[in-house]
């Protein structure tokens, strides 16, 4: 084995940092975007076709660009935001650009499934669009949202491996550089093993939480 346990622990910490921070920021960006995609579409609360089309388009563009290219394309932004384009912190920026629009789509899909009757009840109470979203639509979609976020987080873990490509480090990077490029099967197995445990834990937590909340 070419790596020692310290390196693995360091990589684990890096992965956790990358995923946690990028999840946080992409949720902060993706949730409002997803909400906006829902409420500005035709026939909805704040119908606004130009806004919807623009937003929809931007998200599509971001979703079209292969990750590695996205990573390079936004280096100036990354540098502006974190002061450098390398390292774990810098990896968070492209991950957010990758996961933000992705989460927006997942959120959009979940929110569209909310029963229209509930929204009508909210409108009848004179709730503001803001209240309708936060007091009615989001709580009603919560269970589906949790599963969507589980899916997105696992996707982020995968993407974080690629972010290792720019010196972000992390378990995925360790698996690739040692396991894949240096044929260090043991390192690969260990790192992938840790990833599997993480994903398994995450998915189980997501399932349990979603089940608890889903009132059916």
């Amino acid at each position: 084995m070419l790596v020692n346990s310290d390196q693995i622990i360091k990589a684990l910490v890096e992965t956790l940092q990358m995923v946690a921070f990028s999840l946080l920021f992409s949720a902060l960006i993706g949730i409002p975007l997803g909400i906006a995609l829902v409420v500005t579409r035709k026939g909805h609360l704040l119908e606004n076709p130009p806004f919807f089309n623009t937003l929809n388009g931007i998200i599509n563009v971001l979703r079209s660009v292969p990750f590695i290219i996205l990573l390079v394309a936004i280096i100036p932004i990354t540098r502006f935001l974190v002061g450098t384009s390398i390292g774990t912190a810098a990896a968070v920026v492209p991950l957010v650009f990758y996961a933000g629009p992705y989460i927006a789509r997942l959120v959009e899909n979940s929110l569209l499934e909310v029963d229209h009757g509930v929204i009508e009840a909210a409108q009848a109470m004179g709730a503001t669009p803001w209240q309708i979203v936060f007091r009615f639509i989001l709580p009603e979609a919560l269970s589906s949202l949790i599963l969507a976020f589980t899916i997105a987080t696992i996707g982020l873990i995968g993407a974080s491996a690629m972010a290792g490509a720019i010196g972000g480090g992390g378990l995925g990077d360790l698996a690739i550089t040692y396991g894949y490029q240096r044929f260090d099967t043991k390192t690969m197995l260990i790192t992938v093993g840790i990833l599997v445990v993480m994903v398994q834990g995450l998915q189980s937590a997501g399932n349990i939480a979603a089940k608890k909340i889903r009132r059916r």
Partner: protein, 250 residues
């Protein structure tokens, strides 16, 4: 005219200029070269060993040696091609000596390129590697690091892009050229031209090392017009290096 013979040749990256030139020559002799492009350095060797390729041409002999040893593959080189000197580049410093204590050095994370980069840094007097360094890079091979440099590893394509964020980057030749750098002028330190481990080769399966077609392909590569083509196209940033296999330890 006899039947054309097909040869499947694996390359990595996108630079087929030389091979397009060679393939044109081969075609006239009834050898049809199909170039298969890979974007990494592992698959072309594995595919060759499995018989899905007839030859590949993308790697240095050093990488090749390490790879076949690791994987116990029966591959052999049949010809040398060129050498592309690796360099140390910096946006901030004009000389290796200016690199400050604790400075960051961007390095390709791929094993042999990293080894090559570390060797370059040793040559530049920045670090010292362990006794009998085998050219396979990993950071624990560094035994002395007086400036306490921090090594940041990443994919090769990224090393020129992060130059604003580091003290200096070690950049592969091909990538440096594509990134708009001129190794001979821009590098603050360049690999010596005789770095034999980094001579590139054409590799084939051992049982085919006497295959006439493949041998002929090597010969076509090593002709003078190819050499002129390379020198003209690459303006000296890729140096045709046609030496006997024995020079590189085969």
């Amino acid at each position: 005219k006899g039947d054309t013979v097909k040869v499947k040749l694996g390359v990595s990256g996108t630079d087929h200029r030389i091979w397009n030139f060679v393939a044109d020559k081969a075609k006239k002799e009834g050898i049809e070269v199909e170039i298969v492009t890979f974007s990494d350095y592992v698959q072309p060797n594995l595919a060759l060993a499995e018989g899905e390729l007839d030859a590949n041409s993308f790697q240095t002999v050093s990488y090749f040696n390490a790879f076949i040893k690791e994987h116990k593959l029966d591959l052999v080189p049949i010809a040398t091609t060129q050498i592309a000197p690796m360099g140390l580049y910096s946006e901030k410093y004009k000389d290796v000596k200016e690199i400050p204590k604790g400075g960051k050095i961007a390095l390709d994370n791929e094993a042999t390129n990293m080894g090559r980069g570390l060797a370059l840094l040793q040559e530049a007097g920045l670090i010292k590697l362990e006794e009998g360094f085998n050219g396979i890079g990993s950071l624990d091979k560094v035994v002395e690091n007086p400036k306490n440099l921090e090594f940041v590893t990443m994919t090769a394509g990224h090393t020129p892009r992060v130059m604003p964020d580091v003290a200096a980057s070690i950049v592969n030749n091909g990538i440096a050229v594509d990134a708009g750098l001129t190794p001979r002028e821009d590098a603050i330190f360049l690999e010596s031209e005789t770095a034999t481990p980094y001579i590139n080769i054409i590799a084939v399966r051992e049982e085919e090392k006497d295959n006439k077609t493949l041998k002929r392909l090597g010969e076509l590569y090593q002709q003078d017009d190819t050499k002129e083509f390379i020198e003209k196209e690459y303006k000296g940033n890729s140096i045709p290096t046609f030496v006997p296999l024995s020079n590189i330890g085969w």
